[in-house]
Symmetry: C2
Subunit: 116 residues, 2 copies
Protein backbone atom coordinates (compact mmCIF):
# COMPACT_ATOMS: atom_id res chain seq x y z
CA UNK A 1 0.00 0.00 0.00
CA UNK A 2 2.35 2.66 1.19
CA UNK A 3 5.56 3.01 -0.71
CA UNK A 4 7.40 2.07 2.46
CA UNK A 5 5.51 -1.15 2.67
CA UNK A 6 7.59 -2.82 -0.02
CA UNK A 7 10.75 -1.69 1.73
CA UNK A 8 9.66 -2.97 5.13
CA UNK A 9 8.58 -6.25 3.61
CA UNK A 10 11.83 -6.59 1.74
CA UNK A 11 13.82 -5.94 4.88
CA UNK A 12 11.76 -8.42 6.86
CA UNK A 13 13.71 -11.37 5.53
CA UNK A 14 17.14 -12.21 6.84
CA UNK A 15 18.39 -13.61 3.55
CA UNK A 16 17.53 -10.36 1.83
CA UNK A 17 19.24 -8.31 4.51
CA UNK A 18 22.24 -10.55 4.00
CA UNK A 19 22.16 -9.88 0.27
CA UNK A 20 22.08 -6.17 0.98
CA UNK A 21 25.04 -6.62 3.28
CA UNK A 22 26.95 -8.40 0.58
CA UNK A 23 26.15 -5.74 -1.95
CA UNK A 24 27.18 -3.11 0.51
CA UNK A 25 30.47 -4.92 0.96
CA UNK A 26 30.96 -5.10 -2.80
CA UNK A 27 28.60 -3.38 -5.16
CA UNK A 28 27.82 -4.50 -8.69
CA UNK A 29 27.86 -8.26 -8.17
CA UNK A 30 26.20 -10.77 -10.46
CA UNK A 31 23.56 -13.27 -9.44
CA UNK A 32 26.12 -16.05 -9.48
CA UNK A 33 28.50 -14.14 -7.27
CA UNK A 34 25.75 -13.36 -4.80
CA UNK A 35 24.81 -17.03 -4.67
CA UNK A 36 28.26 -18.28 -3.78
CA UNK A 37 28.29 -19.06 -0.06
CA UNK A 38 24.58 -18.94 0.44
CA UNK A 39 23.21 -22.49 0.76
CA UNK A 40 20.28 -21.55 -1.42
CA UNK A 41 19.42 -22.23 -5.01
CA UNK A 42 20.17 -19.61 -7.62
CA UNK A 43 16.47 -19.16 -8.22
CA UNK A 44 15.82 -18.51 -4.58
CA UNK A 45 18.42 -15.76 -4.60
CA UNK A 46 16.95 -14.41 -7.81
CA UNK A 47 13.56 -14.21 -6.16
CA UNK A 48 14.99 -12.38 -3.19
CA UNK A 49 16.70 -9.96 -5.51
CA UNK A 50 13.41 -9.44 -7.32
CA UNK A 51 11.80 -8.46 -4.04
CA UNK A 52 14.63 -6.08 -3.30
CA UNK A 53 14.32 -4.62 -6.79
CA UNK A 54 10.59 -4.12 -6.36
CA UNK A 55 11.30 -2.24 -3.15
CA UNK A 56 13.79 -0.17 -5.09
CA UNK A 57 16.53 -1.28 -2.75
CA UNK A 58 18.53 -2.88 -5.53
CA UNK A 59 18.99 -1.81 -9.12
CA UNK A 60 20.69 -3.73 -11.88
CA UNK A 61 22.38 -3.33 -15.18
CA UNK A 62 22.89 -5.75 -18.02
CA UNK A 63 26.41 -6.41 -19.11
CA UNK A 64 26.50 -9.05 -21.79
CA UNK A 65 25.02 -12.15 -20.26
CA UNK A 66 25.68 -10.88 -16.78
CA UNK A 67 23.35 -8.88 -14.60
CA UNK A 68 25.17 -6.59 -12.24
CA UNK A 69 23.32 -5.67 -9.06
CA UNK A 70 23.72 -2.38 -7.27
CA UNK A 71 22.44 -1.32 -3.91
CA UNK A 72 20.29 1.77 -3.56
CA UNK A 73 20.54 3.21 -0.07
CA UNK A 74 17.89 5.88 -0.59
CA UNK A 75 14.78 3.99 0.58
CA UNK A 76 16.46 2.80 3.76
CA UNK A 77 17.71 6.29 4.24
CA UNK A 78 14.20 7.67 3.94
CA UNK A 79 12.69 5.11 6.26
CA UNK A 80 15.39 5.55 8.83
CA UNK A 81 14.85 9.29 8.67
CA UNK A 82 11.10 8.97 8.94
CA UNK A 83 11.14 6.53 11.82
CA UNK A 84 13.75 8.46 13.63
CA UNK A 85 11.83 11.66 13.28
CA UNK A 86 8.51 10.03 14.12
CA UNK A 87 9.66 7.84 16.93
CA UNK A 88 12.67 9.44 18.37
CA UNK A 89 12.23 13.12 17.90
CA UNK A 90 12.82 13.74 21.60
CA UNK A 91 16.01 11.72 21.47
CA UNK A 92 17.35 12.98 18.21
CA UNK A 93 20.23 14.54 20.03
CA UNK A 94 21.38 11.04 20.91
CA UNK A 95 22.41 10.78 17.26
CA UNK A 96 24.83 13.58 17.75
CA UNK A 97 26.37 11.58 20.55
CA UNK A 98 26.43 8.56 18.25
CA UNK A 99 28.22 10.54 15.62
CA UNK A 100 30.72 11.65 18.18
CA UNK A 101 31.31 8.07 19.29
CA UNK A 102 31.75 6.92 15.71
CA UNK A 103 34.26 9.57 15.02
CA UNK A 104 35.88 8.65 18.32
CA UNK A 105 37.71 5.43 19.22
CA UNK A 106 35.34 2.66 20.40
CA UNK A 107 31.61 1.90 20.50
CA UNK A 108 30.03 1.02 23.81
CA UNK A 109 26.60 -0.52 24.38
CA UNK A 110 23.57 0.87 26.14
CA UNK A 111 20.50 -0.42 27.98
CA UNK A 112 18.20 -2.97 26.39
CA UNK A 113 14.99 -4.10 28.04
CA UNK A 114 12.49 -2.24 30.08
CA UNK A 115 9.48 -4.55 30.21
CA UNK A 116 7.23 -3.79 33.16
Amino acid sequence: MTDDDAVFRALADGSRRLLLDRLRARDGQTLGQLCLGLDMSRQAVAKHLAVLEEANLVAWQRQGREKLHFINPVPIHQIARRWITQFDLPRLDALAALKDRLEGPENDEQGKDNAP
Copy 2:
Protein backbone atom coordinates in the same frame (compact mmCIF):
# COMPACT_ATOMS: atom_id res chain seq x y z
CA MET B 1 17.36 -15.90 14.22
CA THR B 2 18.98 -12.61 14.96
CA ASP B 3 17.34 -10.55 17.63
CA ASP B 4 16.61 -7.95 14.98
CA ASP B 5 14.75 -10.48 12.95
CA ALA B 6 11.68 -10.33 15.16
CA VAL B 7 11.72 -6.55 14.97
CA PHE B 8 12.05 -6.46 11.20
CA ARG B 9 9.30 -9.03 10.83
CA ALA B 10 7.07 -7.14 13.20
CA LEU B 11 7.60 -3.92 11.31
CA ALA B 12 6.92 -5.61 7.99
CA ASP B 13 3.17 -5.43 8.43
CA GLY B 14 1.30 -2.21 7.87
CA SER B 15 -1.32 -2.96 10.49
CA ARG B 16 1.35 -3.39 13.10
CA ARG B 17 3.07 -0.17 12.09
CA LEU B 18 -0.31 1.48 12.42
CA LEU B 19 -0.71 0.07 15.90
CA LEU B 20 2.68 1.46 16.81
CA ASP B 21 1.61 4.81 15.42
CA ARG B 22 -1.49 4.76 17.54
CA LEU B 23 0.46 3.86 20.63
CA ARG B 24 2.93 6.56 19.86
CA ALA B 25 0.05 9.01 19.62
CA ARG B 26 -1.35 7.81 22.93
CA ASP B 27 0.51 5.35 25.06
CA GLY B 28 -1.05 2.88 27.45
CA GLN B 29 -4.14 1.96 25.44
CA THR B 30 -6.20 -1.18 25.94
CA LEU B 31 -6.91 -3.81 23.30
CA GLY B 32 -10.42 -2.46 22.86
CA GLN B 33 -9.21 1.07 22.37
CA LEU B 34 -6.66 -0.04 19.84
CA CYS B 35 -9.35 -1.91 17.94
CA LEU B 36 -11.69 1.02 17.56
CA GLY B 37 -11.35 2.34 14.00
CA LEU B 38 -9.46 -0.60 12.64
CA ASP B 39 -11.81 -2.74 10.51
CA MET B 40 -10.29 -5.86 11.99
CA SER B 41 -11.49 -8.31 14.58
CA ARG B 42 -10.29 -7.94 18.15
CA GLN B 43 -8.45 -11.22 17.87
CA ALA B 44 -6.59 -10.06 14.79
CA VAL B 45 -5.41 -6.98 16.66
CA ALA B 46 -4.48 -9.15 19.62
CA LYS B 47 -2.37 -11.30 17.34
CA HIS B 48 -0.61 -8.27 15.92
CA LEU B 49 0.05 -7.03 19.42
CA ALA B 50 1.45 -10.42 20.31
CA VAL B 51 3.90 -10.14 17.43
CA LEU B 52 4.89 -6.68 18.56
CA GLU B 53 5.32 -7.94 22.11
CA GLU B 54 7.50 -10.79 20.93
CA ALA B 55 9.69 -8.28 19.14
CA ASN B 56 9.81 -6.31 22.36
CA LEU B 57 8.31 -3.35 20.60
CA VAL B 58 5.28 -3.28 22.88
CA ALA B 59 5.02 -4.02 26.58
CA TRP B 60 1.88 -4.29 28.63
CA GLN B 61 0.58 -4.06 32.12
CA ARG B 62 -2.51 -5.57 33.70
CA GLN B 63 -4.91 -3.20 35.33
CA GLY B 64 -7.93 -5.06 36.60
CA ARG B 65 -9.56 -6.62 33.60
CA GLU B 66 -7.79 -4.25 31.25
CA LYS B 67 -4.45 -4.72 29.56
CA LEU B 68 -2.66 -1.49 28.95
CA HIS B 69 -0.18 -1.48 26.09
CA PHE B 70 2.94 0.62 26.00
CA ILE B 71 5.33 1.23 23.19
CA ASN B 72 9.01 0.49 23.59
CA PRO B 73 11.13 2.57 21.24
CA VAL B 74 14.42 0.90 22.10
CA PRO B 75 14.47 -1.85 19.43
CA ILE B 76 13.60 0.55 16.66
CA HIS B 77 16.18 2.87 18.04
CA GLN B 78 18.80 0.16 17.90
CA ILE B 79 17.91 -0.93 14.40
CA ALA B 80 17.81 2.59 13.10
CA ARG B 81 21.20 3.20 14.63
CA ARG B 82 22.64 0.00 13.24
CA TRP B 83 21.33 0.49 9.74
CA ILE B 84 22.33 4.06 9.65
CA THR B 85 25.80 3.29 10.82
CA GLN B 86 26.15 0.25 8.57
CA PHE B 87 24.57 1.68 5.50
CA ASP B 88 25.08 5.35 5.71
CA LEU B 89 28.30 5.86 7.54
CA PRO B 90 29.60 8.11 4.77
CA ARG B 91 26.44 10.18 4.95
CA LEU B 92 26.08 10.32 8.65
CA ASP B 93 26.61 14.03 8.56
CA ALA B 94 23.34 14.28 6.67
CA LEU B 95 21.71 13.58 10.01
CA ALA B 96 23.16 16.72 11.40
CA ALA B 97 21.50 18.59 8.55
CA LEU B 98 18.29 16.74 9.33
CA LYS B 99 18.48 17.81 12.91
CA ASP B 100 18.98 21.37 11.82
CA ARG B 101 15.97 21.22 9.52
CA LEU B 102 13.82 19.71 12.25
CA GLU B 103 14.78 22.41 14.68
CA GLY B 104 14.16 24.91 11.90
CA PRO B 105 10.84 25.79 10.22
CA GLU B 106 9.93 23.36 7.39
CA ASN B 107 10.92 19.98 5.99
CA ASP B 108 11.69 19.69 2.30
CA GLU B 109 11.96 16.54 0.22
CA GLN B 110 14.83 15.06 -1.67
CA GLY B 111 15.44 12.80 -4.68
CA LYS B 112 13.79 9.41 -4.97
CA ASP B 113 14.56 7.05 -7.83
CA ASN B 114 17.79 6.28 -9.57
CA ALA B 115 17.19 3.04 -11.46
CA PRO B 116 19.51 2.68 -14.44
